[in-house]
C-alpha cells in the first residue's frame, strides 16, 4: 500500500510540474523581454540553456 501511495504521489508531482511547465511556456513574455540573455560564461555544461553556444550562429 505504501508503494502504491508513493507511486501516486510521484505521479501527482510530475503532473504538477508538467502542467506548470506548459502554462509557463504559454505565458507571453512581457514587452522588451523577448531577447533576454544571462551573462553566464562560467562552466562548460553545454546542456544548460544559458550556455553561450545556444545563442551563436552556425559557423561562429
Amino acid at each position: 500500500m505504501r508503494y502504491i501511495l508513493a507511486a501516486l504521489f510521484f505521479g501527482i508531482l510530475v503532473l504538477v510540474y508538467i502542467g506548470l511547465y506548459l502554462m509557463n511556456k504559454k505565458t507571453p513574455l512581457p514587452e522588451g523581454c523577448e531577447d533576454l540573455k544571462a551573462d553566464c560564461e562560467g562552466c562548460h555544461d553545454f546542456s544548460c540553456t544559458h550556455h553561450p553556444s545556444h545563442y551563436m550562429e552556425k559557423g561562429e
Binding site: 501511495l5 508531482l13 509557463n24 505565458t27 533576454l36 544571462a38 551573462d39 544548460c48
Partner: protein, 191 residues
Amino acid sequence: MSELVTLLVTSVLINNVILNQFLGMCPFMGVSKKKSSALGMGVAVVFVIVVAAIVTYGLYYLVLVPLGLEFMELITFILVIASLVQLTEMFIKKYSPSLYKSLGVYLPLITTNCVVLNVCLVNITNTYDFSHMLVYSVGTPLGFALVLYIFSTIRERLELSNVPKAFRGNGIALICAAIMSMAFSGLAGIV
C-alpha cells in the same frame, strides 16, 4: 533568541554555502562577471530558496511523514523546486514585467542550483523547528548573495588589472575565491 541570531550569523558568514561548503559554484563562477548580474541572481536565489524551503518543509511534515513516505524526500524536493521555479517565473512574467526583466533570466538557472536542494534537505536532517528553518533558509541565500556580490566587484576590478596571461579569466578568479574562502574561515571565532 540568541540561538536564532547565532544560526543566522553562522549560515551567512561562517558556514557560508559557497566558501565553506563549496555548493553553487556554477553561478558563482558564471554570473559574477558584472555587479548587476550578481545582484539579480542573488535576489532571485533568496526569493526561490525561502519559498522552496517553506513549501518543502510543510510538504515533508504534513504529507510525507503522515503517509510514511519519508524515503521520497529527495525526489519530492527536486520536483517541488522545479515546479516552484516555473510557477514563480510565470507569476513574475504576468504581474511584474520590470521584475522579470531583472530576475527572469536567472530563474531557470536556479532550478539546477544545488544550494536550493541543500537548504531544503538540511532543514529536514537537522530537524529544525519552523523558526530555525526560516532563519536558516533566509541566512543561507543571503550568504550566497553576499559572497556573489563581493566576488563580482573583485572580478570587475580584475578585468582592469594587468594579470599574467596564464592566470587570466577563471584562473585568477579561482585564486581570489580561495583567498576569500580563507578570509571567511577566519570569522569562525566570532560565534
